[in-house]
Symmetry: C2
Subunit: 498 residues, 2 copies
């Protein structure tokens, strides 16, 4: 029987959540529909909603309910809800209003400074803004009681329960296996062509990606896919809004982008809707979210069984464009690996090295082992060491990502933790359901989705990344499955010796 | 110099307005984008926003500011703002919460009862819901201090400053001129064909209507047009969202629908944005709003000069569809008149009779001269008298419109008042700018728009319908220009003798 305060708390959390979903709709609309000169009103609307959300989230009654509930006996589910609510309430109430204003103002200025600096390749002009962001980050961590380990505070924001030491161990092992593999693939005589498929009309691409994502299980009765400059997945399982972008000379870009967002969307649609707004109905963290997008994008959709099913339809929709393309050429284009300086253009093998690079630099910045002034040079050195490539300028280096300009530290590792978890889940699923890929070859993805629904989605935030990995796969989170997967997929394809 | 309380009031009004624009975006999205099974969350979001809007609109501080401002000296603009704010505040605060809940619940039940009754042609099943709506309407008027004249209260809600007696005088004169004209057109040997243009692809229709509405002056940098089941125009001048719907066998439907919405959109885009949220920045009422949509749709876009400019492009986009269609046949299709039982399908001549019918029945209901039980028979009789047509069932009669199911009494007259004002504005504009139609024939609509911007749009709600008509045209609102316009356009076309 729940404590009497518990339903009150849930009610308040759901209200705050619902208000957040309103901002989500406006944010989606801004990226997808907003007329070019309507930005001022949209900014004013979002500012007002943020203010109302803040008022709702800092309602002193929530604090009183939490204090009362924390003092009494709680059931397991209630503990999960109260733990997350405390976390959110503290973060909403412990930061002084002046600090929040200062950080918001700085985020806006730093974003523009970054965009300018990137356009002019002028890292020095951006450096003071980044310095200030680091200072603000440390102050924020201190307000929340994590002044001794500010980087851990930021990591924990993205992936609750995770910390820098644990990530360092995981990434060190991953790096040791990955750097040689990337080097060998780069030196391979096998070269994939990304320009294989020219002149593919958007309308046909749209048909194909809707068929694919629908077959993977995305419920278009509770979601949509539209076009935006930067693809994303927003909303909740009640109304999931994905976006993609088209390139007539690279149909694989929109396809894999939309499969990636579908992975996010399937997770959102699989969260228990009756618990929307509490920790029982929200995702377990960014790493777990990323594991879902990567699993469908990479382990599933870059595999031969997937293409055994979809290749005929693909050729039917693009007959002239694929006329001179062999099945093997197509498969190689789908699994093209080529080290690049730009993270967002990276293949799934190299991608992880981009993340390790950023993690190591963030860690050194927070530890004080590296100054912002030395960041550009350190980036170049790390790029040589990890990718075997040296940026010709800062646009290809330290200025390429938007994240730091918004003070989003500790966020990059989630991408790579997600890749690890995806591979680990994949081999577990294969172990439990050995005929999984035979189903894929018949266009049936329901067993994998059903398993993920039960083992990952339905749990909401009951288990955090590390506990979830152990519970579902029987092992602690490890990079070994990611390395195994990358070797299995790419060593043969690129004639690389183990 | 403004009273010290005045900026405070404006600030609060703007905040309430901004919150309303958030609901507008969600309402638009619901009609245009919402996935079929996402309705529950959208309903919850809109309910929450309505609750927040109510809290904002009933802030006791607004009442105190109004009382203070009403006691002191005010400038002309301030008086306009305070007058409207008082009206809104009273309406938001004087209705007891229980009553508001009761009415909201009844609206929802009555809507479903109406939809069911319409499907089954069962007026008796709907009648008790309409009775209840009338009772609620009278109670609402009484709460607001208009218990003696509840129908006037409802008319004033749509068209501030207007009342039933004045409308009755106007409609009586209009009816006397219109009924014979409609009878003569119906008996004319000239028959327009609405099925003239078959198989017109939506993509081509979309190109044409965007070119047309853009040339009329709709600013697509601050607005959009999309597709929805029921066309509408929502949002503000900062972000104007219009919709239309396509029929491949009737390209004139989407075209004239979107020109109509463009008229609404041009008005919104012409309101002074710096005053958004106060009476200086909102439209003057539904009748004036409708005058803008009708002026562009009818006086402008059904005229020969307009088509002189656009016909070549229309034929270019639909070459095979228009190959056997003469210019005169096309013009006749554009100006097809044929009495019909259904208001929303009516041509611009007959349309006004549909409104007069509804006004007269509403008036008799509120006066107690007619029972709801007798409404179906009264409708049939009025339909015979006015349209010369008798509904075969209630679907074609009293059950055709959604309005009453939502308790929206006093709203119908605005459509016809708008038609009158449109024609009156039109002849005034022609008197001031005799070469207006020569400009149209060259595709230049800027003089008319500029004049409407100055004379109507820029005024916001400074002048209400009757004062605005007098100020802009030099005459009281009168049906004589609407009758003149309809005779000039249709008598020749249908070979009707005066």
């Amino acid at each position: 029987m729940p404590a009497p305060a518990y339903p009150d708390l849930v009610n308040k959390l759901q209200r705050a959540h619902l208000l957040g979903t309103v901002s989500d709709v406006l944010g989606w609309d801004e990226q997808v529909n907003l007329p070019p000169d309507s930005g001022d009103q949209r900014a004013a609307q979002l500012t007002l909603l943020a203010e109302l959300s803040h008022t709702t989230a800092t309602d002193p009654a929530i604090g009183q309910l939490l204090t009362a509930l924390e003092a009494g006996p709680l059931g397991a589910e209630e503990r999960v809800v109260v733990r997350q609510a405390r976390r959110d309430y503290d973060r909403a109430t412990k930061l002084p209003a002046d600090f929040v204003r200062e950080k918001a103002g700085h985020c806006s200025r730093a974003y523009h400074a970054w965009a300018d600096a990137r356009a002019r390749d002028d890292f020095a002009a951006y450096a003071p803004f980044l310095e200030k962001h680091l200072e603000l980050a440390k102050r924020e961590a201190a307000y929340l009681g994590h002044g001794a380990a500010p980087y851990d505070y930021y990591i924990d924001l993205s992936d609750p329960g995770m910390n820098a030491a644990r990530i360092e161990t995981l990434f060190t092992e991953l790096k040791a296996g990955l750097v040689p593999l990337v080097r060998k693939i780069a030196a391979s005589p096998v070269k994939a062509r990304r320009d294989l498929l020219q002149g593919c009309p958007v309308a046909q691409q749209d048909i194909f990606l809707r068929e694919v994502t629908g077959k993977l299980g995305f419920d278009y009765r509770r979601g949509r896919i539209d076009v935006s400059v930067h693809p994303f997945c927003s909303g909740t399982g009640s109304d999931t809004r994905m976006t993609t972008r088209f390139d007539v000379n690279d149909p694989l870009k929109a396809l894999f982008g939309s499969i990636h967002e579908t992975g996010h969307g399937l997770y959102e649609q699989g969260l228990p809707r009756e618990h929307a707004g509490t920790a029982l109905g929200i995702h377990a963290g960014m790493g777990v979210h990323e594991s879902q997008s990567r699993l469908w994008e990479n382990q599933v959709a870059r595999g031969r069984p997937f293409w055994k099913h979809f290749e005929p339809r693909f050729r039917e929709l693009f007959p002239s464009q694929t006329a001179d393309v062999s099945a093997e050429q197509l498969y190689l284009a789908i699994n093209a690996v080529k080290p690049t300086l730009i993270r967002v253009d990276a293949d799934e093998v190299t991608y992880n090295l981009h993340i390790i690079l950023r993690f190591e630099l963030e860690q050194r910045l927070f530890r004080g082992e590296l100054d912002v002034a030395g960041l550009s040079a350190a980036w170049k050195q790390a790029s040589r060491d990890l990718l075997g490539l040296e940026p010709a300028n800062n646009r290809e280096g330290v200025l390429q990502d938007i994240h730091w300009s918004g003070g989003a530290f500790g966020y990059f590792p989630s991408y790579c933790l997600g890749n690890m978890l995806a591979a680990q889940l994949w081999y577990r699923a294969l172990g439990l359901m050995p005929d999984l890929e035979q189903d894929f070859a018949r266009g049936d993805f329901s067993k994998l989705l059903g398993w993920l629904r039960r083992e990952v989605h339905a749990r909401g935030r009951r288990l955090l990344l590390l506990d979830l990995a152990r519970e579902v796969t029987g092992e602690d989170l490890t990079p070994k499955y990611l390395l195994r997967y990358l070797h299995e997929r790419y060593a043969t394809l690129y004639h690389v010796r183990p």
